[in-house]
Amino acid sequence: MGSITFIEHHGAEHAVEIETGKSLMQIAMDNGVPGIDADCGGEAACGTCHVIVDGNWISATGKAGDEELQMLDMTPDRAPTSRLACQIIATDAMDGLVAHLPEFQM
């Protein structure tokens, strides 16, 4: 079993177990990671599960899709490796992945 680490804006780290096939948003919710609001329940409708994937890991998660990009494009904290956590499906290859949380969600 691998793990993913979410790092809050002020530095608090949350290492959680990977559940293959679940979205990173759901995994964060399941483990009560603060800073992922997931208001819409994973429909890419709200943009409140914005994470910034640690540089080296973007190849494991892939880049944002078109609709996702449009949501992300307008967020103030946007970075080149920004993703919506609800659109990343966890795989075993993500063992060790680090995702940073922005100061504010949309």
Partner: protein, 424 residues
């Protein structure tokens, strides 16, 4: 002594409240009382992906049971029939291990009312026939799903969001769908006529037969509904009826307990009711909204979770407030509608994109030159931008919003000199 927070209601607001309480450092007991045999689950998909079969029941829980166990959050099924605020107790009927009718008293230090809303029911001849459904909870959605038969007739009563989402899902499942709306247009209470026309068109194109200005006067059938009968004499064959004519806030408990109630349980900016030990959050709560400068009661998941966060802070003795901008969404067919803000009272509407023949556009609602709301159909960028403009009350030039040659981002940037004077 251990302190106890009781939460009445077990849906979106309650789920967030339990989580936020632990995050805020509440060390006492947390007990959630709900009247359904489920842990808190996602309600929006019930009329959408769950009804159409795209999402299974297993994917609906907001958080898994293990999360609540780990955080020592208890659940009980039952019905709260009274609150005694002087003694800080409530009366629970039909709780675990109790036979119907037996009641017990539970004590609280802090109480959260997350009682939500219930569907408005129609009382017409035949309205108790089998096959007539409402749509609010899992059991409702499951019984509708079980009644779906491809090629048979369904009738939707009510042309609001629930009605339209149900219509789209039932069409996708191969039923004939007739939709009856009492008013002159679909979504009449919530959108501009231009947006109503769009939804009228796309549903018609998908084979939904829409009738407006028509009043249902009753239902007929032998034990089970067969026809919907209208005041003008029209009749529609129906193997399945879904009634979606709005909801009523569950405020009776609060009212009987002497709390302030006025179209919802009246709460202050910290989600506190007129009793300092009682908070309320979600569809049942009526709160002053800073962005719009008036009291509103919102029927929306994002509002429920936001109020729950604020309420949790209040319970823990902090006084957080919220600059929450109301927003909503609705999925129908391939159309994702995202709504930012409240459009009531607009004096100018600007459309961006082709609403007459296309499937992607945004309708911007302005009042005195300020953006107050936007309905965005398959336009996530316009939605996010609108949220920002409205929340920060940024100055913009309404006419430019119609010009698609101006990129969305520049609707904001090109106006930035004005932003400074707007003061954010």
């Amino acid at each position: 002594m251990t302190r106890t927070c009781l939460i009445v209601g077990a849906s979106h607001a309650a789920a967030q409240l339990t989580t936020s309480l632990r995050q805020e450092g509440w060390e006492g007991d947390i007990l959630v009382i709900g009247d359904e045999p489920h842990m808190p689950y996602q309600r929006p998909p019930l009329s959408k992906a769950f009804l159409s079969g795209e999402k299974a029941a297993e994917s609906l829980p907001i958080r898994p049971a293990a999360f609540y166990q780990k955080n020592d959050i208890q659940f009980r099924q039952g019905r709260v029939t009274a609150i005694n605020r002087d003694q800080q107790t409530l009366t629970l009927v039909g709780g675990d291990g109790e036979k119907d009718g037996k009641s017990e008293q539970l004590s609280y230090d802090k109480l959260a009312l997350c009682t939500g809303a219930r569907v408005r029911k129609v009382e017409l001849p035949g309205s108790d026939l089998d096959g007539i459904h409402y749509l609010r909870n899992m059991a409702d959605a499951e019984s509708i799903k079980a009644s779906v038969v491809e090629g048979r007739h369904s009738v939707i009563v009510g042309g609001g969001y629930i009605g339209l989402e149900a219509a789209a899902s039932l069409r996708e499942l191969g039923m004939h769908v007739t939709l009856l709306e009492r008013g002159p247009r679909l979504l009449g209470r919530v959108t501009a006529p231009e947006v109503s026309e769009f939804y009228h068109r796309v549903h018609t194109e998908s084979g939904v037969r829409i009738h407006t200005n028509i009043a249902v006067s009753g239902f007929s059938g032998n034990g089970r509904v067969q026809k919907v009968i209208c005041a003008d004499g029209a009749e529609f064959p129906a193997d399945l009826v879904v009634v979606g004519v709005g909801v009523l806030p569950n405020t009776e408990l609060a009212e009987v307990a002497g709390l302030n109630v006025d179209n919802g349980i009246v709460v202050d900016e910290h989600c506190r009711t007129s009793d300092q030990n009682v908070v309320a959050a979600g569809d049942c709560a009526n709160q002053f909204n800073r962005v719009y400068g008036c009291r509103v009661r919102l029927e929306s998941v994002p509002n429920a979770t936001e109020q729950a966060r604020v309420a949790a802070a209040s319970i823990c003795g902090e006084s957080r407030t919220s600059e929450f901008l109301p927003w909503f969404w609705s999925d129908q067919y391939d159309l994702k509608l995202q709504i930012a803000g409240l459009s009531r009272g607009y004096d100018q509407l600007v459309i961006r994109g082709d609403r007459l023949t296309g499937r992607s556009f945004a309708a911007f609602y302005f009042r005195e030159g300020r953006l107050i709301a936007a309905d965005c159909v398959n336009r996530p960028q316009e939605f996010v931008l609108s949220k920002r403009i409205i929340a920060q009350n940024l100055a913009v030039q309404p006419d430019r919003f119609a010009d698609e040659s101006v990129p969305v981002k520049e609707l904001l940037l090109a106006d930035s000199p004005a932003l400074a004077s707007a003061g954010g």
